[in-house]
C-alpha cells in the first residue's frame, strides 16, 4: 500500500510530502524523504513490553503494573520532574501538563538543551518571523548563522530557501544570495555566496557591530571584529539593507555558544533594525519534530513555553532555576518521568547521572540511552508512525501527523491518561 503526503516527524521541518510503501504492518520504502527521514521510518528498536529493573537485570511487566508503579513513584515524590515531550504529539504533551499541575511537578521539554535561549531572547525583544512559505516565495537574501542545515535539516534549503522556487523568486538559485556565518567551514558554507568566519564566542560582538553599521555608526567599529574584517561586515550590512526580503535562520551554534540568549537577542535586534530599511525575518531552526509544539501546548496551558514549576500549585518559570538540567545537576528532584526524548544521551554527564540515583520512568517507543538509567521503560507508539496527532512545525504551522501503520502498541497519551487517572483517584483530567 502506498500512502501519500506523509509527514516526517523527525525534525522541525515536518516535511509533509513523503510517500511511504507499507506492507503487513511494516514500512518497506520511504520516498521523497532525506536520509534522516528514512532512518526515522525504517528503524524500530521497540521493546515488546514494559520492563522493570531488578537486582539481576530487567524483567517484563504488564502495562497495568508499569502504570501503577509509575503513579506510585510520582505520587510519593517531593520534587518530581516530567521531562521530554518533543518527539510526541500535542495530545500527550497536554496530558503531561495536567499531571504536572496535579502533583506539583516540574515539567520541562527539550528546549532546555536546544532553543531555550532563543525563547529567553524572544521574551526580551519579541520575534519578527513568518511562516516558511513567506521565505520561499519572497526571500532574496538568506542567512544561515551557526547552523548546518545540510546535515541537520537536509531539506530545508530545497523546500524553503536556497533551491525552492518561489512566487516572487522564480529562479531561486540565481536570485537568492546565501550568506553563511559560522566558526568553521561547514558543508553549508560550501554553497554560500558569502561565508563569514567568526572566532569562537565572537557572535555577539559581530552582531553588535552589524547593528551599529546598519545604524550608520560604522566609524566606531574597529578594523576587525572577532576575526571578521570591517570591510566584510560593511558588505554584509549592505547586502541586507538592499535585500527585498531577508531571512536569518540560526541554530545551536548561536544559541549554545558563549553568551547564549544574548546572541539571539542581538540577532533579533539586528533583524528589527533591518526592518527600518527593508523586510527582514529571523527564525530558529528547531531540532526535534514537535519541540515547537511542546512550547505551544505548555504556553496555552501554563503561560510558559518550557521549564514550568508547579511545586507551589501555581505555575512558576525561571530558566536556570526551573530547567531540567539545572534541577538534575543540583540533585533536587527525587523522581523523574521521561517522555519521548533521550536526556541520557543529551544532558551533561552530572545531570544525567542523577537520573540513575532516583526512580526514573521512561515512556518512549524506543530503547535509548536513558533506558540504561531508568527503573522502568514503557514502550508506546511513535507519533507520526503508528500514532496520529498534532505537531507544530518550526514556524508554528500546525500539522496533523499520520498513523501509517499499526503495531499494536498503546499511544503514549493513553498511558499518560491512565497514570493521571490513578494520581487523581480515578478521575480524568
Amino acid at each position: 500500500m502506498i500512502i501519500h503526503d506523509v509527514i516526517c516527524p523527525f525534525c522541525g521541518c515536518l516535511c509533509d510530502d513523503l510517500e511511504l510503501e507499507c506492507e503487513g504492518g511494516k514500512i518497506i520504502k520511504v520516498q521523497n524523504g532525506c536520509a534522516l527521514a528514512e532512518s526515522t521510518f525504517m528503524t524500530d528498536t521497540r521493546l515488546p513490553a514494559p520492563i522493570r529493573r531488578t537486582e539481576s537485570g530487567w524483567e517484563e511487566i504488564s502495562y497495568n503494573e508499569a502504570i501503577k508503579e509509575t503513579a506510585e513513584i510520582l505520587q510519593g515524590a517531593d520534587r518530581p520532574l516530567l521531562y521530554g515531550w518533543s518527539s510526541t504529539h500535542g495530545e500527550a504533551q497536554s496530558v503531561g501538563v495536567h499531571i504536572a499541575e496535579l502533583i506539583g511537578a516540574v515539567i520541562d521539554n527539550t528546549s532546555t538543551v536546544c532553543h531555550g535561549p532563543s525563547i529567553l531572547a524572544i521574551q526580551e525583544v519579541g520575534h519578527p518571523g513568518c511562516t516558511l512559505g513567506q521565505v520561499k516565495n519572497r526571500a532574496d537574501v538568506i542567512i544561515y548563522w551557526g547552523c548546518n542545515p545540510i546535515e541537520a535539516h537536509p531539506r530545508h534549503m530545497s523546500r524553503y530557501t536556497t533551491y525552492a522556487t518561489g512566487f516572487f523568486v522564480p529562479d531561486a538559485q540565481r536570485e537568492r544570495t546565501v550568506i553563511v556565518v559560522d566558526t568553521r567551514r561547514t558543508d553549508t558554507a560550501g554553497i554560500a555566496d558569502e561565508f563569514v568566519q567568526i572566532e569562537h564566542g565572537g557572535d555577539y560582538a559581530v552582531l553588535s557591530a552589524l547593528r551599529a553599521i546598519v545604524r550608520g555608526k560604522a566609524s566606531v567599529i574597529p578594523a576587525k571584529v572577532a576575526g571578521v574584517s570591517k570591510e566584510q561586515l560593511i558588505r554584509i550590512a549592505e547586502i541586507c539593507k538592499t535585500a527585498k526580503f531577508g531571512a536569518i535562520f540560526f541554530g545551536l551554534g548561536l544559541t549554545m555558544s558563549r553568551g547564549k540568549y544574548k546572541n539571539i537577542r542581538n540577532a533579533i535586534e539586528l533583524t528589527d533594525e533591518l526592518n527600518r530599511h527593508t523586510k527582514f525575518v529571523i527564525s530558529p531552526l528547531r531540532g526535534h519534530g514537535n519541540v515547537y509544539g511542546s512550547n505551544e501546548v505548555f504556553t496555552w496551558m501554563t503561560g510558559y513555553p518550557f521549564a514550568v514549576d508547579f511545586a507551589r500549585g501555581i505555575a512558576f518559570y525561571n530558566p536556570g532555576e526551573t530547567t531540567a538540567v539545572d534541577i538534575l545537576r543540583r540533585g533536587e528532584c527525587d523522581a523523574a518521568l521521561i517522555v519521548a526524548s533521550d536526556p541520557g544521551a543529551n544532558f551533561p554527564r552530572a545531570a544525567a547521572a542523577h537520573l540513575a540515583k532516583i526512580p526514573t520512568v521512561v515512556i518512549d517507543p524506543h530503547v535509548n540511552a536513558t533506558t540504561a538509567l531508568a527503573r522502568i521503560h514503557i514502550p508506546c507508539t511513535a507519533a507520526g508512525i503508528d500514532a496520529a496527532g498534532t505537531a507544530y512545525r518550526m514556524d508554528g504551522v500546525p500539522i496533523r501527523l499520520k498513523k501509517v501503520i499499526d503495531r499494536g502498541y498503546p499511544d503514549d497519551a493513553e498511558i499518560l491518561k491512565k497514570i493521571y487517572d490513578r494520581l487523581n483517584g480515578g478521575k480524568g483530567p
Partner: protein
Amino acid sequence: MTEIWVKNACVIDPLNHINGEIMDIAIRDGRIVESVSDRADVIDAQRCLTLPGGIDSHTHVSGTKVNFGRYMSPEDMRAGRTKRKGKMHVTSGYYVPTTFGNSYRYSAMGYTTLLEGAMAPLEARHTHEEFTATPHQDMMANTLFDGNWAVMDAVREKDVRKTAAVVAWTLKAARGYGIKLTNPGGTEAWGFGEDLTGIHEMVPHFAVTPAEIITTMMRANELLKLPHSVHLHCNNLGKPGNYQTTLETFDIVPDLNPDRQTLYATHVQFHAYGGGTWKNICSKAEEITSSVNSRPQIVMDMGQIMFGRTMTMTADGPMEFNLHCLHHNKWSNHDVELETGSGIIPVTYSKKSAVNCIMWAIGLELALLTKNPYQCLLETDNPNGAPFVKYPEIIGLLMSKRYRDEECATLHPETEKRTSLCALERELNWHDIAVMTRAGQAKALGIVNQGKGHLGIGAEADIAIYPIRTDSVDPAREYRKVVEGFQKTRYTIKRGRVVSRDGDIIVDGANATFWVDAMVPEDLKMENDPEFIKRFEQFYTVRMSNYPVQDVYLPRGRRIETEVFT
C-alpha cells in the same frame, strides 16, 4: 434528562422584547422550555438581573498570535496566577491569560459565547486546539482573507462567484465561521515591508485595491448566505486622520441583507482619529457615528481602551511595526504565506498621555453617540484596548455621567478640548447594555437562530444571573455597584448546566465550536479546480491534502450548512 427551574429572575431579553420582567425560566437538556417537572433543580434568582449569556463578537483568545503573546510575556504570566482548585485548572496571566484563565474569567462575567477575531487558515488547527482548551464558551473563528492570493486573483477578475467559491473552500478547510478582513491588501504589501494608505491604493503585484476586495467580499458573503457579514478591520488603523478612510469605507457599503448588517466594522475607536499627527490627533467620533446612524447596513464595535498595561495583537503587521517604532518595546511579527500577517507588541495606556486619553474618550463617544445600541457593540478588541475583565468598568462608564466626569478629571487636560465626551449627557440603561453585550452580538453574528443571545422557548440555555437588583440600584449614582455586579455572576448557566457560581467554576467545560459549511455549485468547487490546486501545491509549504482541519479537532463541532447559490 436534566432540568433547572430559575425562578424570580429579573429578565432583560431584548430580542424577545422583555425588559425587566420578573419571571421564571425553565430549562431542560440544555434548552429553554415552557415548563419543567417538579424534579427540576431550583435556582432562586431573587429578582436579580438575568440576561442571556454574554457574547463577545470580537476577541483574541486563541490561536497562533494569542499564544505568541503569551509565549513572549513571562512578566505578564506572574500577574494572574491561581492554583488548581476543584474543577479549575491552574491559570496564569492578566492581559494574555492561559486558555483556562480566559475561559474561567469570561465565565465568571457571564460570557458563554466568543468569536475569535482572527484566524489564519493555514494555522487554523492551532486555534481549534485552543478552543478545546477554552472549555466554557462556545467558540467560532473569524477567518482571515485580507491577503489571500486566490481571493485577490478572483477580485481582480471581478468574479464574485469565484471569490465566493474560494471563501467557501477556505472556511470549510479552516472550520471557520466568517470572513475577516484585516487591513485588506495591506497585509500582503507588508510581505515586502510596505503598507497601503487608502482604500483606493493598489496592492503591489496584485492589481486590486482594498475597496475592490471589500466590495467583492461583501457580495460574495451574501451570495454564500453566510450567517455573519464581512467583518472588517479597516485600513489605516491607529493613524491620526484615519477617520476619512473609515468614512470612505462606510460609503461603499451597500445594504444587501434585510436580517442583519452588511458590514461589521470592528474596533472603530482605533479608526476614528482626526488630525494629522500624534500632536494634533482629535476625536472624529461624531462624524463616524453620524455615518453609522444613517446606515443600518453597518454595525460596529467600540474597541474601547482602558488605562493600564496590555498587549496589542492583530493580523495588521505593518501597523504593529509602526507602533513598535514609537514604543521601542518588544515586537513580534508573524506573516502567513499567501494569506495574511500579524504583529504583537505590549503597550501601556497612560492617563498622562494625551493621545491615550483621547483614544479612551473616543470609544465612549462612539457608544454614546450611536442612536441604536444594536449598531455599536461593547468590547475592547481584547486584549488590544484592554483585557476583557475591564468590560464591567466600561458598562459603568456608559451608564453613569458622574463616573465619566470623575474619570475625566484625572485625565490629560487636552482630552476635553479634543473630544466631546464631557459634553455628552447620555446614560445608557440596562436594556442598552443587554443589547450591547449579547443581543446585538447574536444578531450581528447571525446566531439568533442557533439559540444564542436570547431566552425564548427553544433557545440554548446560556444564562447569566448577576448580583444586581435593577429596582434598587441607581447606575448613574451607584456605578461601583454596577461594575462589581458585572464582574462576577451569581450563576452562569451554559447550555443548561451551572458552570460558574460566584466566580468559581464548578464543572468541566463542554463547549461547542460553530463553523460554516457554505455550499457552492458543483462547477465552482475549488477542490476540483486544476489552476487552484496547481498554485496551492506550488506556493504553499504544506500539501493541499494536509491543509484542511480534520474533524477530530472539533470534538463538539456544530456545522452550519448554507443553501447553495445559483
